[in-house]
């Protein structure tokens, strides 16, 4: 249908299709088929995406109002601002702040260090602040060593090629993030995929690939690296780490976990999926994660054995070529991470021995020597009280929103403890309406709506990202809005009408909902 339209359009309205036709001996910059989705679908929903904002990406955010005179072909910014409730930013622990202990630390950091370290890590861009951060990250995760990289995407795309090469096999979850695919493609290793989060499918695949060896030659694989995400950003599903660890023992593959979304937000101590399942982080070969989300900073890290990390430092593209992480970002990481862990002047001896025998991989407060002496942390942060408080609040909010939506009758995906709560809308048209109606409410709420290419077109969804900075009233507001819109747009397909709870009931029985054991949910 649209091919016909393009065909006719090119002939009758050549000016409007100029960029798709060969002109003056140049082939068009993008072919009509490649840009089909952009022109015919995405352009018409432009108002849902790339909304410019200002202020802090915290509990609320300021959006720059805009309107479109021509069905989303162009967006005109009006110059006015609207404050909206923000359930969109990856601000799980609420560290996106312009005030408070972390912000003060960053200000101090900029005054001392400036905004850049001038160059790549191996060529004169290393600073003592990098060393401090890397030690702290390793301590936080319970690994031997770690390294930081200035961009989250590049942490995968430039370091994976240093781990695997030709003759190696990468087994990847079918819904892995684009950065992982980018990195694997650059590495030259073979790739096989298994069904999303399906351990059985993984085992079948492992048996096949190990027994068959490399294609054609049947030589054994040099090594097999399994790359999975801890928490999937579009699905909210969490990996079944214990089951994977059992397989790892049996099939001797190496494990790379991308904890971009789970680090900080998941687990009793906020140390990600290993913490959640009580798995020894030393047994996971490579832990990757980003600081963009829970820590309110930017960039990513890789952690593991010292020998692996050192090799990555020298053999990845980032080490010699890419810029090092800037000091303000490093300071933010140190401050936020230290306040999750808590800092003490001296670690009591008894605590040390107790933790090393009890099997607790994430001992409590760290010694003062892990953070720079100049870095000021107010007592409520350094004692770790606020960090624990934030973790608890995030956990409450995640469970509450997830189960609240379920009880109201919506279809949600993912693990209830995940701060990412995807709610299914299915139709892209409804998706746009949902987005607009949420934004135009009395208490405007900004939401992330996603469809192709991030998800299949028929399962368009809205993705809520709860934060520790939200209060229960905020979540109530969101649930109430969803409840009303769900009736208008007919989105409640999860439960039969008589099994649904009313909004008031959900709000009243919130604590009961949150404390419900995981199994009770189908």
């Amino acid at each position: 249908m649209c091919r016909v339209r393009d065909f006719l359009g090119k002939r009758f309205h050549p000016n409007a299709y100029k960029h798709l036709m060969p002109s003056d001996g140049y082939a068009p910059l993008n072919s009509d088929f490649d840009s089909f989705f952009t022109r015919r679908l995405k352009r018409r929903m432009e108002e849902c995406f790339a909304q410019p904002v200002t202020g802090v990406a915290g509990r609320t955010i300021l959006i720059l109002d805009r309107y479109t005179p021509d069905y989303n072909q162009t967006q005109i910014t009006l110059g006015t601002l609207t404050r909206a409730l923000n359930v969109s930013s990856y601000n799980y622990l609420g560290f996106a702040q312009a005030r408070g202990g972390c912000a003060d630390a960053v200000e101090e950091g900029i005054k001392l260090y400036g905004v850049t370290t001038c160059g790549s890590r191996l060529e004169g861009g290393s600073s003592d602040l990098h060393t401090v951060t890397e030690n702290l990250v390793a301590k936080f995760l319970g690994t031997e060593d770690s390294l930081v990289s200035s961009m989250g995407f590049a942490t995968n795309s430039t370091f994976i090629p240093a781990l695997v090469s030709k003759g190696c096999l990468v087994i990847s979850d079918e819904l892995n993030h684009a950065s992982i695919r980018f990195g694997v493609r650059q590495s030259g290793a073979s790739v096989r995929m298994f069904r999303h989060n399906n351990v059985k499918s993984l085992e079948t695949l492992l048996r096949e690939v190990i027994s068959q060896g490399q294609p054609k030659t049947h030589r054994p694989w040099k090594k097999i690296l399994l790359i999975v995400e801890g928490l999937f950003s579009m699905e909210g599903t969490m990996i079944d780490l214990p089951a994977i660890m059992v397989l790892k023992e049996k099939y001797k593959f190496y494990l790379f976990i991308d904890e971009a979304h789970s680090i900080g937000g998941i687990g009793q101590h906020g140390r990600g999926v290993a913490d959640y399942y009580g798995v020894d982080p030393q047994k996971i070969d490579v832990l990757m994660g980003t600081f963009t989300k829970s820590f309110g900073a930017a960039g990513g890290y890789l952690a593991g054995k010292k020998s692996i990390i050192d090799r990555l430092r020298v053999y990845s593209y980032s080490g010699p070529y890419a810029e090092a992480m800037p000091p303000p970002v490093l300071t933010q990481i140190i401050a936020s991470m230290a306040s999750i862990m808590g800092v003490t002047e001296s670690i009591p001896f008894s605590h040390l021995t107790a933790s090393s025998f009890s099997g607790d991989h994430h001992p409590g407060p760290i010694s003062q020597r892990y953070i720079p002496a100049w870095l000021p942390l107010p007592p409520e942060l350094s004692s770790g009280v606020e960090g624990r408080e934030r973790l608890r609040r995030l956990s409450f909010n995640s469970y509450y929103l997830h189960r609240g939506l379920d009880k109201l009758g919506f279809i949600t995906y993912g693990h209830p403890s995940s701060p990412i709560v995807p709610m299914l809308i299915f139709s892209p048209g409804k998706m746009m309406m949902f987005h607009r109606m949420m934004k135009d409410r009395e208490t405007p709420i900004v939401t992330v709506v996603v469809d192709y290419p991030a998800t299949p077109l028929q399962t368009s969804r809205v993705r809520f990202c709860v934060s520790a900075s939200h209060t229960k009233e905020d979540i109530d507001t969101i649930l109430r809005a969803c409840d009303e819109l769900g009736d208008i747009l007919d989105l409640k397909h999860g439960l039969k009408k008589r099994e649904r709870w009313t909004m008031d009931e959900v709000s009243r029985r919130a604590v009961e909902l949150v404390n419900m054991p995981d199994e009770e949910r189908q």
Binding site: E123, Q186, S307, S316, Y321
Partner: protein
């Protein structure tokens, strides 16, 4: 004869009866009328047409029945059936290689000797390695923006407004007003229609290339382009043709041969790109931009120019090669630069027409799938552009230092790079050509220089990844933050060490 004909009759009769009973059965089926009408109208008293229809039917059925499993599975000879027990045995037998080999002693020593700055970086940083201050000829602080107090102040203000992280990808509330402003500032600075940011300088070009170049497109690239360009081209799956490093004659020959081949094989018109760097990361040589543009127009190619090292370092106000050669930036289709090198902030950008920029907003992998850069760094970059515009003396001082360094280095070694080149590596006439040996020798020079208070670095690279191995070299980065006297002193120290070591 008669009996034979009667047998035939009975056969024909039975056949006719069977046919008519089938027909009756057929007409009793619901929807049979439609099928009948379809067959009638397609047959039209022409058996050929029906024959064609039957072939199509077979093709359709064949396609539907075709195995949909992957090519490397269950596909004939290559798949070997095993019993569960055999698989278990094979699994037990399999011994994988270690995930990564530990570094060799030399590599580990080199990693330990990487200069680490204690405190802020600048012209005279204190090194953790020696505990003493050193003259910095290693870090990219070309125009001395790193220690600019005004930029720091603006960064703090921005942090108090926006926090540190943007906490979101660009498409989903990660686009702050300051990002939009920086994009506009860069576009105005260069004189293009628009620009798009990426949160890391290195990843910018390797994301720009696959956004435009697809399978079947033709890329003509310099043999000496930096690794990020090579990786971007690899990802794009385009057809790549190479021309000799910084040799525009060779480029023209390649362009001609591509065109000839296209004519000969009557290939359709595909997108064609020339990809090169303004100042090469590898050896600091500079591209002859006017000639390159002439060729691009003559052969109708699009030009992707990586100005990572020339943006913010050459030209009267640091606009890069376009300013130096007085070429309008709109003549370069995709102008890629780095805010981290040229503007001492972070990230990179691609400037071009609106079409070029908007296309990347949905097709540039590093733009779409990555969080946007922290707002305070975007503010720093915007501010850095203002500083450059207001202080052309920064650029002239940089050039002065470069000239000073060149005039000193000339007698000690053959310098091939042009004088207006800030990232000038030091080619040497060493008698050894063995990469490992040269690397070791240079490393000794670097370490010796460090103990004498001069911070320099080798051009570090990952061996075995690039198309052609670059000759080991030292990389000196000049800075306008250093006085001429300091620069000369440091270079003299270096020359002394070089003379002793490269005897």
């Amino acid at each position: 004869m008669a009996s034979a004909s009667s047998t035939l009759d009975s056969v024909v009769l039975t056949f006719a009866q069977t046919l008519s009973s089938i027909e009756r059965g057929f007409y009793r089926l619901p929807g049979s009328g439609i099928i009948e009408r379809y067959i009638r109208s397609s047959h039209q008293n022409d058996p050929g047409r029906t024959f064609l229809e039957i072939i199509i039917l077979f093709l359709v059925v064949g396609t539907l029945l075709q195995s949909r499993t992957r090519a490397d599975r269950n596909n004939g000879k290559n798949f070997i059936e095993f019993t569960d027990k055999e698989i278990d045995e094979l699994v037990d037998d399999w011994v994988p290689e270690p995930l990564s080999k530990p570094l060799s002693e030399i590599e580990a020593a080199e990693l330990a000797a990487v200069p680490v700055v204690a405190g802020p970086n600048g012209p005279h940083p204190i090194l953790v390695n020696t505990g003493k201050p050193a003259v910095n000829l290693a870090s990219f602080n070309f125009t001395g923006l790193a220690s600019n107090e005004h930029i720091k102040q603006r960064a703090i203000e921005s942090m108090r407004n926006h926090g540190v992280g943007s906490c979101g990808p660009t498409g989903f509330y990660g686009t702050f007003d300051v990002h939009v402003k920086l994009e506009r500032d860069i576009a105005e600075f260069l004189g293009t229609e628009g620009s798009i940011l990426c949160s890391q300088g290195f990843s910018t070009i390797s994301s720009v290339i696959p956004a435009f170049c697809k399978r079947g497109d033709i890329i003509v690239a310099d043999r000496g382009v930096t690794l990020s360009i090579q990786k971007g081209m690899e990802i794009s799956r385009s057809t790549i043709r190479w021309y000799d490093h910084n040799d525009l004659k060779s480029l023209e020959e390649v362009l001609q041969s591509v065109e000839k081949e296209r004519r000969k094989r009557r290939l359709p018109l595909t997108r064609r790109f020339i990809i090169t760097e303004g100042i090469f990361e590898r050896d600091g040589t500079m591209t002859d931009l006017p000639k390159l543009i002439e060729l691009k127009y003559k052969y109708k190619y699009r030009l992707i120019l990586d100005e990572s090292f020339s943006f913010g370092t050459v030209g009267r106000t640091g606009r890069g090669l376009t300013e130096l050669y007085n070429v309008h930036a709109t003549k370069i289709d995709m102008l890629v630069g780095s805010c981290s090198i040229g503007l001492s902030a972070a990230g990179g950008f691609c400037a071009g027409t609106h079409t070029v920029v908007e296309h990347q907003r949905i097709n540039g992998p590093a733009y779409v799938f990555s969080a946007s850069m922290p707002p305070l760094l975007a503010v720093s970059a915007s501010e850095a552009i203002n500083v450059l515009l207001d202080n052309p003396s920064l650029l002239s001082k940089l050039q002065e230092n470069i000239r000073a360094a060149h005039s000193l280095l000339h007698p000690s070694s053959a310098v091939v790079s042009k004088p207006s080149n800030p990232a000038s590596p030091l080619p040497r006439d060493a008698p050894v050509f063995d990469i490992a040996k040269e690397e070791r020798l240079l490393q000794e020079v670097v370490e010796e220089a460090m103990t004498q208070g001069v911070m320099i670095t080798k051009a570090k690279r990952v061996r075995g990844l690039e198309l052609t191995e670059a000759r080991p070299s030292l990389r000196l980065a000049m800075s306008s933050a250093l006085s001429k006297a300091d620069t000369e002193k440091a270079i003299n120290v270096l020359i002394k060490i070089l003379k002793r070591k490269l005897k």
